[in-house]
């Protein structure tokens, strides 16, 4: 008797397993770990308001996120750089259209050790001299970067080559995504870069503004001269576009078909309305109000395609969105 009961139990368990009874709506998001803190914060707020909608967020990186996005595995992709042509092609092959929405700015910050007295600002040309591929093995002393700097050894820290930050910095400074010298200490963890620069008087590194803001006691930010005099990386300078060329917008990409689902529509609208407050809270810079208006309008009109891919560095987000 107990054997029959056991068998029955096993069969019902097996049946239960194959019958998917999950009813709730799940919004699937994956992508850049740079955008993650904002998306996490929005998801947290959103779920407090809509209890029956579940939001899940992964951190596969911008590239890894797009890989899932273009094969229809996710509804929204976090991205710290615009979509690439190769990714766009795959999306088209799979019949996926997307809506590209900027959600905040990140100010890439060049930092030096607190005790570094000789670097106050650097021009883009000097940064290029320092970081371009040709510098590898040749530019090793600070006096080679600018006359008057001491003849001390240059020690460099930067993000790894898989990172969107690396892509953007090399594009903005060296004139091509991925163009960089290789003889620096890379790390995917920005806190490691902070430690590195904080521990060496002659070191220089670059990463997102939030990491500088949290470590102001150990690091100095270098003012960047993009042609209009040295500008400090501050919240306001990034937001009004005067900190150039190292301010970059970060994005979410929404699947066009998924956007028509009520719960995803709700989420994206919520995102664009709340992003301004949330961005600041988690260490990023909010876009100007106009930009959020444009983005919301773009989303409501379901305008697909990318306007940021290959856009000239320095053109404002509002300008690009109003096209």
């Amino acid at each position: 008797m107990s054997k029959i009961l056991k068998l029955f139990l096993m069969i019902s368990v097996a049946l239960n397993f194959f019958v998917n009874s999950f009813a709730g709506s799940v919004i699937k998001i994956d992508g850049s770990s740079t955008v993650y803190p904002i998306t996490e914060a929005i998801a947290e707020e959103f779920q407090a308001m809509y209890k029956d909608i579940k939001v899940v967020v992964g951190i596969s990186g911008t590239g890894g996120g797009f890989k899932k996005f273009v094969t229809n595995q996710t509804d929204i992709s976090d991205a710290s750089r615009p979509i690439k042509s190769s990714e766009q092609k795959k999306a088209r092959m799979n019949g996926i259209d997307f809506i590209e929405l900027p959600v905040a700015y990140d100010g890439l910050t060049v930092v030096v050790n607190k005790n570094n007295k000789f670097i106050d600002h650097l021009t883009v040309a000097e940064l290029k001299k320092l970081w371009e591929p040709a510098a590898q093995g040749n530019i090793t002393k600070w006096n080679q970067v600018r006359e008057g700097f001491p003849a001390e050894k240059i020690v460099l820290y930067g993000p790894g080559t898989d990172s969107g930050t690396f892509d953007y910095f090399t594009e903005a400074i060296c004139g091509g995504s991925g163009k960089s010298r290789g003889d620096y200490t890379p790390s995917e963890d920005d806190n490691v870069l902070v430690q590195g620069v904080a521990g060496d008087k002659n070191a220089l590194g670059y990463f997102g503004l939030a990491y500088y803001e949290e470590n102001k006691d150990k690091l100095n930010a270098v003012k960047i001269d993009g042609g209009n005099g040295p500008v400090e990386p501050t919240y306001d300078n990034v937001q009004d576009g005067s900190y150039q060329p190292l301010s970059r917008p970060i994005f979410i990409y929404v699947n066009r078909n998924a956007a028509d689902k009520d719960y995803i529509n709700k989420f994206v609208e919520f995102y664009l309305k709340k992003a301004k407050d949330v961005a600041k809270e988690v260490g990023y810079i909010a876009l100007p109000d106009k930009a959020y208006e444009f983005a919301l309008k773009k989303f409501r009109e379901r305008k697909t395609g990318t306007v940021f891919k290959g856009a000239k560095i320095g053109v404002s987000v509002e300008e690009l969105l109003s096209k």
Partner: protein
């Protein structure tokens, strides 16, 4: 003469002293690590930390989804690796005939034990997530981790079986038992405490694995739990949770460590403390069960 004696004595004592030094160094590093983590994370250790979901506010952030996910994955992994690992260990040690086939299997299993875990992640992604369409579920995660630690279980099982004295088997055969009976009733029970240690130690490796789970797409932010295994409706038990999304403690810690805000670093430290506690608990279980089993065997 006297001098030679002294030199001999020094030589004699050199090795134990060097060994002691090595032990102290490794223990010392562990000690410093634990102190450091405790210092950073103790103030975040409270009930709220265990019952809250992740949050953008470090003081409100918790590890509920992470530790429940870890528990799910660990229990399932144990369920998978125990029968499969022990059965293949028994086959290789007791049944497989010496020859090319056995050599081939042996070389492969020892090699598998050394494969970086991220490779298993890629394998799991292709097989479990895409081919079997399990999505990024608890089940896919547990199966992937099972692959990672299976070679360890197999090797441990074989080593424990090897350690069973031949006289025991011969005695069993002499009493008229056949091969299966000998293995099931004599060899396996004698080797069992060793096998158990192997299984549990491999669990404590699995608990810290992050790379393969991130590769198969385990999530980072998730504010709900896999469906529990018990329901109020007939048949009162459900495996729905197997198909739900999940995250695990190491992924949550990894995310917090790389955030800029100091508050998250404290959260990460507190997460590490919880992970250490779980891992210590698993090791403690291994020792306890082994002692218990050995006592039981002796009484028999």
């Amino acid at each position: 003469m006297k001098e030679k004696k002294l030199i001999n004595k020094i030589r004699d004592n050199f090795f134990p002293v060097a060994g002691l030094l090595a032990t102290i160094i490794s223990l010392g590093i562990l000690f410093v690590l634990i102190i450091d983590v405790l210092k950073d994370g103790y103030m975040r250790l409270n009930l709220q930390f265990l019952t809250n979901y992740p949050s953008r506010i470090p003081e409100k952030a918790g590890i509920l989804s992470a530790w429940v996910g870890t528990l799910w994955i660990m229990v399932l992994t144990a369920l998978f690796i125990f029968p499969v690992g022990v059965a293949s260990g028994i086959y290789l040690e007791e049944y497989a005939k010496p020859g090319k086939m056995k050599d081939f299997l042996e070389i492969n299993i020892s090699n598998l034990a050394g494969v970086p875990s991220i490779i298993y992640g890629l394998l799991g992604l292709q097989i479990f997530v895409y081919f079997f369409k399990l999505d990024r579920s608890v089940l896919a995660g547990a199966l992937t981790l099972s692959l990672v630690v299976l070679p360890i279980v197999i090797v441990a099982t074989r080593e424990s079986l090897k350690a069973v004295p031949l006289s025991l088997r011969e005695a069993s055969f002499a009493l008229g038992a056949n091969k299966l009976q000998t293995i099931l009733f004599q060899v396996l029970p004698s080797a069992f405490s060793g096998i158990l240690s192997g299984v549990i130690l491999s669990m404590s490796r699995a608990i810290g694995e992050t790379a393969p789970l991130i590769t198969i797409g385990a999530l980072t932010y998730i504010a709900f739990l896999p469906a529990g295994p018990f329901t109020t409706e007939f048949p009162f038990i459900t495996l729905q949770g197997l198909k739900d999304y999940f995250t695990v403690l190491p992924i949550q810690v990894f995310n917090w460590v790389s955030r800029p805000q100091k508050g998250f670093h404290s959260d990460a430290a507190a997460g590490i403390i919880i992970l250490l506690i779980i891992s210590l608990f698993i090791n403690f279980m291994a020792i306890y069960l082994r002692i218990k089993f050995e006592k039981y065997m002796r009484r028999k």
